[in-house]
């Protein structure tokens, strides 16, 4: 008993900021928010922030796996826009045929998931089978999907028919026990992601491949299959994020999902996942996403700085959150 006690205490004493750095940053942001605006902790504001974090959050969970396995995906923002456009277009066509109803939504949801999965598969195959750098492949598909959504929307905005929008609306705005669906979805994905990363062979294999691909290969891990799976998983999660996104405004345009890829990557890195791969933690990514959302929220809730400087504040916090982790690393 005494032994166990000293053990925990020692662990407590040697807590390093590498582990809790992002959490500290998050807490500091919350305190700043509370100090600046009394409405910050209101139910409505908390719900808003969490719900709007869900899209990038769900995508960032997938991105954590891709980056941990030593990859990168720049196409997720455009992919989300394209998948959203495709789903809306399909649902509009089906509404004309079947009328307004649940089947239309179900097909739309299924289509979004399948389209995301296929888009991820295309990225993954080009990277693993054709052997092109992930950066180049996804930079290419990023441009392709962005053009495709612009083309699909004829340069304008694709909007879901009014009645369909009303029917689909609760998926974003509704919920159970006062917790809205996107928050629930984000939480479930994050918990599943954390479990998969830490407690399954797939998660361990991702970290091994990102850490040293050769060692992974010599340990008879199917490196290419695991790599491919990370991109497919990310694509599927992009599809899932779209399922939650479409009911929010019921529309998609060329500016949908703009810069989501960079926000997702930033969240992953703020969370403590290594950009070069080899180590990833999903809970860190969740914290990273919340940090990014809170910065925007706090800036909107105050006149603290000129809106022209929002980007600068965001950039500074991102860099700070990462510096906080590096500086206190025990290996120096």
């Amino acid at each position: 008993m005494a032994h166990a006690e000293t053990k925990t205490r020692r662990r407590g004493g040697s807590i390093d900021l590498k582990v809790i750095g992002p959490i500290v940053a998050l807490i500091v942001l919350v305190l700043i928010g509370v100090a600046l605006n009394p409405n910050f902790l209101s139910y409505a504001n908390i719900t808003n922030v969490l719900a709007r974090s869900a899209f990038i959050g769900i995508i960032a969970v997938g991105m954590t796996f891709v980056i941990t396995a030593g990859g990168l995906d720049l196409s997720v923002g455009s992919m989300a826009a394209f998948v959203a456009g495709l789903a809306i277009l399909t649902m509009n066509v089906l509404t004309d045929v079947w009328g307004v109803g649940l089947p239309v939504i179900l097909v739309g949801v299924a289509l979004a998931l399948v389209a995301g999965l296929i888009a991820g598969l295309i990225n993954g195959l080009l990277i693993t089978r054709v052997g092109i750098e992930a950066f180049i492949v996804t930079l290419g598909t990023m441009g392709i999907y962005r053009s495709l959504i612009t083309w699909l929307a004829d340069g304008g905005t694709l909007s879901l028919g009014f009645e369909m929008r009303e029917l689909y609306r609760p998926v974003y705005y509704g919920g159970i026990a006062g917790i809205s669906w996107p928050i629930i979805a984000f939480a479930v994905i994050a918990i599943l992601g954390e479990v998969v990363m830490r407690h399954t062979a797939f998660g361990r294999h991702c970290a091994a491949i990102g850490s040293n691909e050769k060692v992974a290969r010599y340990s008879s891990i199917a490196v290419l299959k695991v790599r491919l799976a990370t991109y497919v998983l990310l694509g599927l999660l992009v599809g899932f994020a779209v399922v939650m996104y479409v009911p929010r405004l019921g529309s998609a345009s060329a500016s949908t999902g703009l810069l989501w890829e960079l926000e997702a990557i930033a969240a992953v890195i703020i969370g403590g996942t290594l950009l070069k791969g080899g180590f990833g933690r999903v809970w860190g990514t969740v914290v990273g996403v919340l940090i990014l959302s809170l910065i925007g929220n706090i800036l909107n809730l105050t006149d603290f700085v000129s809106p022209y400087l929002n980007g600068a504040i965001q950039g500074a916090v991102i860099i700070l959150a990462v510096v906080l982790q590096r500086k206190t690393g025990t290996d120096r």
Partner: protein
């Protein structure tokens, strides 16, 4: 005898609360090759790094020509002519040989780089070293021994007073070693003080003038090499008597476990065939680059190849490492750090990596993993200061034991071991040799690939020798001797007549 140029006086070094060096005295004299030997973790690296100006001592003094000295930076040591050649080469892989030799000290004509002069000077240095490498070749394209030579050329290009070499022969073949020894001796004769570390005691005996033995961070013996035998050195290192480095050889049984026919790897191996029986230790000798490693990797499914591999009578598909593993064949890589272990991960994660599907179903069974690690630590006598430490912080010997544990986790019946004891100390070597013999005695079939002749001679009951991608000869029990292996490895001729 000349006065010491660089010496340590009661130097101690602590990392955090742990003192790893306890009051070491050590002297390097011009015109002398001084060997520093000891088991892994004895404090050799720390001593060398203090001498090379890479780290500071905690107590005691570093003396330069009798005067106390404290380096602010390793550049300062270099400026005085103290050059350290690391075991892991310090070369920019994507730059040319000449660019590496003059890295940071480029020759210039006005503000422009003088490529011609640097190339010419590099060619000169390499010629001195008998090294046939083209000065404009990219470092990533040249062989490991050549890289070593480039490192030495780099040292020679400076005003060299003290040369510190960390196991320079670990990656060299016997022939390259000879070239190296000649160069080191030449440097000594020119008045350079040389610090030399090696696990190969015969080398120490061969080229060193003085030897200092470290054990557990303290100096236990220092004497002229002529006054100490190899056995005495080994005993001083280990601190106990070492008898019988190699255990008795097990007798092969009749059953053929592995049969390779006409296996070729494009550009690496041509038409290799071999048979391996239960209980047998088959040695494979040959120079580095003769195709030994590629042959083993092809058998294990890690390289695309043609030809057939039969495991217990059934064909093994090519390039399917997972299938090979599940069918009971395992390969232990020679490249411990590059292909064997994830250096920044824990022991547990490394141990179970190839076999995670046997630890739990959907979720990994952490308890089973911990139990496996407990067993590995006990079975292989792995010395672990802290259970959750990164593998990269283990000593080389303990890394090798962990790699063995990882390779044997799947309980393979056929085990291919590539360089079983590279860069590890004699005590651990002995443990590994025992283990190999025990595995064979249990009825497993084992292939040992090694550049160290005594290892092949001491372990194998049969030796295949490769040269330029081909199996050029087979030596049975009583034919195995250094001369025969070397002749075959050099591609001289069939050694049958002379060996008999």
């Amino acid at each position: 005898m000349a006065d010491p140029i660089l010496s340590l006086s009661s130097v101690s070094k602590s990392f955090g609360p742990i003192e790893v060096l306890h009051g070491v005295d050590f002297e390097l004299r011009p015109g002398e090759i001084h060997a520093l030997i000891g088991e892994n973790g004895a404090g050799k690296s720390t001593t060398m790094k203090i001498l090379g100006g890479y780290i500071d001592q905690t107590a005691g003094e570093v003396l330069w020509q009798g005067q106390p000295l404290r380096f602010a930076h390793s550049d300062e040591a270099e400026a005085r002519g103290i050059i350290m050649i690391h075991q892991e080469f310090n070369l920019a892989e994507h730059l040319g040989v000449d660019q590496n030799v003059f890295l940071g000290r480029e020759l210039k004509r006005g503000w422009r780089l003088d490529h011609a002069a640097m190339r010419a000077r590099t060619a000169e240095l390499l010629a001195q070293l008998d090294c046939p490498v083209d000065p404009s070749a990219r470092v990533s394209d040249i062989s490991v021994p050549s890289k070593q030579m480039v490192e030495i050329a780099k040292a020679l290009s400076r005003d060299l007073k003290v040369l510190i070499m960390d196991e320079p022969t670990a990656v060299l073949t016997e022939r390259d070693c000879e070239v190296l020894f000649r160069q080191v001796e030449r440097l000594r004769d020119e008045g350079v003080a040389v610090l030399y570390t090696s696990h190969k005691l015969s080398e120490v005996k061969r080229i060193c003038d003085r030897v200092t033995v470290l054990r557990d961070g303290a100096m236990v013996r220092s004497s002229k090499v002529s006054e100490i035998t190899e056995d005495e050195m080994a005993e001083a290192m280990v601190g106990r008597e070492l008898s019988g480095l190699y255990p008795a050889k097990a007798l092969p049984r009749a059953e053929v476990m592995l049969e390779v026919e006409n296996l070729s790897v494009p550009g690496m191996v041509q038409g290799a065939s071999l048979k391996l029986r239960r209980g047998e230790v088959l040695g494979i000798g040959g120079l580095v680059g003769s195709g030994r490693t590629e042959l083993a990797e092809a058998i294990a499914g890690l390289r695309a190849c043609s030809g057939t591999v039969r495991l217990e009578g059934k064909d093994l598909p090519a390039a399917e490492p997972h299938v090979a593993m599940t069918r009971g064949l395992a390969y232990l890589t020679e490249d411990r750090k590059g292909a064997g272990l994830l250096l920044e991960k824990t022991l547990r994660e490394n141990l179970t990596l190839p076999l995670l599907d046997r630890f739990g179903g959907l979720l990994i069974d952490r308890k089973a993993e911990e139990a496996a690690l407990d067993k590995a630590i006990a079975d292989f006598a792995i010395r672990v200061p802290e259970r959750n430490m990164a593998v990269g912080n283990l000593s080389g010997g303990n890394q090798q034991k962990l790699l063995l544990a990882k390779t044997l986790l799947s309980d393979p019946q056929v085990i291919l071991i590539d360089e079983p004891t590279r860069g590890i100390d004699i005590g651990t070597k002995q443990q590994i040799y025992r283990l190999i013999a025990d595995l064979a005695a249990e009825g497993r079939a084992i292939v040992v690939i090694s550049s160290e002749m005594p290892e092949l001679i001491g372990l194998a009951s049969r030796v295949l020798v490769m040269h330029a991608g081909r199996v050029v000869g087979e030596l049975a029990q009583d034919e195995i001797n250094e001369g025969a292996i070397v002749r075959l490895a050099m591609g001289l001729k069939d050694s049958e007549g002379e060996a008999a």
